[in-house]
Symmetry: C2
Subunit: 263 residues, 2 copies
């Protein structure tokens, strides 16, 4: 069939955009507007919300993809898949040239601390990094569907322009969280705060007496005073930039695990 890799690079940078809130979310619309001055933009995004999809892929059913918009320097496609599926479909089915940059978001809500593990926004970013493409995820710390993303414009343009001109250090992707305030104090490179979500379910009975369980709860920061963490700086109205990697292997394995295995 002829859908294969019909999109080629112009003389401008080629930027792939996705998200996990779905193609109709305000966050991806704002992101696209911020990126159009920097290059040609191809949006490949889920047809509806895929929050909490992490790096999930669709393996047991096929995926649909359809073009929904086209303007000069801009094309948009919706898919029935996850954020990672969207990146894979873009790279394998749509784009004849490798994109210069993958940008995911802008997420409606924080992806700081341990949320990076569950985030579909960041799942797409890890997929880009696996393919050796500079990849950045942006999240605004506001879950409202009608959130005002204008505060994000400057940092999106700055970091994406840097990534287009310099790439990113090898194996590194970025998780950028933006506080929901008009008074941003600055930007900090940091690491994800350790912690976990607690009290996570609200259990109810349905009209027929059978239980069902809603995921809820709150994040418990294990190191609220650590000045090198994203949570610390977001609480102080700074943008957090966390360098991340798709590599799940521990670096310092040598002694600890070998001792463990032979004890």
């Amino acid at each position: 069939m002829n859908t294969n890799k019909t999109i080629t690079r112009s003389n401008r940078p080629l930027i792939l955009v996705t998200n996990d809130d779905g193609i109709n979310a305000q966050g991806i619309k704002s992101l696209t507007q911020f990126l159009l001055p920097l290059g040609d933009v191809v949006v490949v995004a889920p047809d509806s919300a895929r929050s909490g999809q992490s790096a999930a892929i669709t393996v047991n059913v096929p995926i649909r993809m359809a073009q929904v918009d086209e303007q000069p320097g801009y094309k948009a496609f919706k898919t029935s898949g996850t954020p990672v599926d969207c990146v894979k479909l873009a790279l394998n089915v749509l784009l004849a040239d490798k994109p210069d940059l993958i940008v995911s978001g802008i997420n409606h809500g924080s992806n700081s601390a341990v949320s990076v593990v569950y985030s579909g926004t960041m799942g797409a970013v890890f997929e880009g990094a696996i393919h050796g493409i500079p990849s950045i995820g942006f999240s605004l710390c506001c879950f409202a569907p009608d959130a005002d993303f204008s505060v994000c414009g400057e940092v999106v343009a700055d970091l994406c322009q840097r990534a287009l001109s310099q790439g990113l250090p090898n194996g590194m992707a970025l998780n950028v969280n933006i506080p929901d305030t008009d008074c941003i104090e600055g930007i900090k490179v940091c690491r994800a705060a350790r912690g976990k979500w607690v009290s996570e379910y609200e259990s109810r009975l349905d009209p027929f007496g059978r239980p069902y369980h809603w995921l809820t709860g709150h994040f418990e920061n294990a190191e609220p005073d650590a000045e090198d963490t994203d949570e610390y700086w977001l609480a102080r109205n700074y943008i957090s930039v966390v360098p991340v990697t798709p590599d799940r292997s521990l670096n310092d394995i040598d002694n600890r695990i070998h001792n463990w295995m032979t004890d």
Copy 2:
């Protein structure tokens, strides 16, 4: 309601078991048999296959959970959620005491190299590690539904007994892959081989002329000769043990990213 945390510890270790192939898969049945000599086993697993779910969580609909079996020292529950949901439900809704060990699998098929990123089996393991519980994922390098898991019994018992008696080094979880052979040569601690899946879609037209896309393709190992990688040793009939972490932050951020941000 009264489903909350009714399962308490006996005088034996408490082991939580889950998987991503679903509660009826042979892999989780074999795993349970291997673990019953080591402690009390509570199985909380998806009601059907959830392959490729990574660390996805269910956020927009509630989750169902129902007990499906009970024997002395053994209880089993199925859920409508993902592997991570299963761990969260077990910890928050079922278990009054924190389990001593979380074991996920035995997966039907390899979770070596970059597959750890997409694996629901390993998503559950990362969730356990986030909660500070020793967590191990096991996968047999055979996708067949009727795979013979007997080759896995010895390594499951050995590593899980070690984890029960010593815990695991702080912040470390284990990704264990087992070659599909009767002639296992040994066991190696290693890291995930770098690489990516390529040629990933088979695109077809439905009876109405509309395209759909099946995820397929193959893994391209970027470092086939690296002797410290899981792929290298699995190909030589060794069991691979990869220490992994749920932390996505890069450790060596200091100079590279600060230079990048200020260039």
